[in-house]
Symmetry: C2
């Protein structure tokens, strides 16, 4: 469900989709999915995305690993992420809430690399949502990701490791202060537009 | 900005990104962008997406055209859309709010084709957001798109024309009843997973 009934508010979930823009996209996705140690999270892959759910720190660990393993130096790759917490319909997988905050992938990540990212943070059921967005954006500034405003999004630039460290910090802040929130992010690497080809400009 | 200051609440905007999963992704995107008649909308392309803003009906017209022109029968294509209205920071382009509700692309669209879609509807600053989501999903049912629940999303299936007609209906309902809302959708065509290859399964 998008959101219904009563769920477990301690579960963080994230959907991640990988879009390698090359003829051999399928093996690139498959190899990355197989590289992730999913022992600390509930996981499921459907037509659109791979979904990890569990303790926030373990979910970010799995997402970081999947994205970083999907990187190929010669491929334009875009990844779409939806972090969600507090959705009233988010049940199941309580067994992963062990309090152990495991990060089984952290020690075996590939080398870091530059990224560009757009993201939006959404908070529900409260009137102060604009102020919460501003705080989340300020955290990006503190993380050295140089947040820039654009229509409907905030733009970030940095490295993959910096970005996932920021997601961890932003989600931790949200967990402390908010009941139900979503962070939507799109990460781009190796875009030809960065080299001046401006493939999507007209 | 994601959302700041006082804006024009009559402006609908949509960001659309195209991800053709093939080596020749750049010309495929470029040709589609060039095919759209943008006379009725404000338009801008950045590193991540193309953005159209103006009257809702004209924005959906431009988005429908861009997506349908990007379709190639032999390519797995995913498109990410963010419709937004009522964002307090959404200013500029007032000149497109003519009341004429133009749809300059409608008469020159390519042939229709099947799609799969995931979407989430978000409403801000009100306590009844769960009920509004349920109504938006019910509209998908009435549109024959067979909505199915999954974690954080609703899944739809049908044709491109059916889907964009539904987006028009859903956004019209939201315009009547809500102040600030976002509809996030991801559309997939020609996925090898549909043929049983299950490229992203493990």
């Amino acid at each position: 469900m998008q959101c219904q009934s009563t769920g477990n508010i301690d579960i963080t979930g994230c959907r991640i989709s990988l879009y390698p823009m090359c003829d051999q996209f399928a093996p690139q996705i498959l190899a990355a999915v197989k590289s992730v140690d999913t022992s600390a999270v509930w996981s499921h892959t459907d037509l659109f995305s791979t979904l990890y759910r569990g303790e926030q720190i373990s979910v970010v660990d799995a997402i970081r690993a999947l994205f970083m393993h999907a990187y190929h130096a010669d491929t334009h790759l875009v990844s779409e992420l939806t972090f969600s917490k507090g959705c009233p319909g988010d049940v199941d997988a309580d067994r992963y809430l062990t309090g152990q905050q495991l990060q089984p992938n952290l020690a075996q990540l590939p080398a870091d690399f530059p990224i560009n990212c757009k993201f939006s943070f959404y908070s529900f059921g409260n009137d102060d949502y604009m102020q919460e967005i501003m705080h989340i954006v300020e955290l990006a500034n503190q993380s050295g990701l140089n947040p820039q405003s654009a229509h409907y999004i905030t733009i970030l630039e940095g490295t993959a490791q910096q970005l996932f460290d920021y997601f961890q910090a932003a989600l931790s802040y949200a967990h402390e202060h908010l009941n139900h929130y979503v962070l939507e992010a799109t990460i781009s690497v190796n875009s030809p537009s960065l080299k001046g080809e401006q493939h999507a400009k007209k």
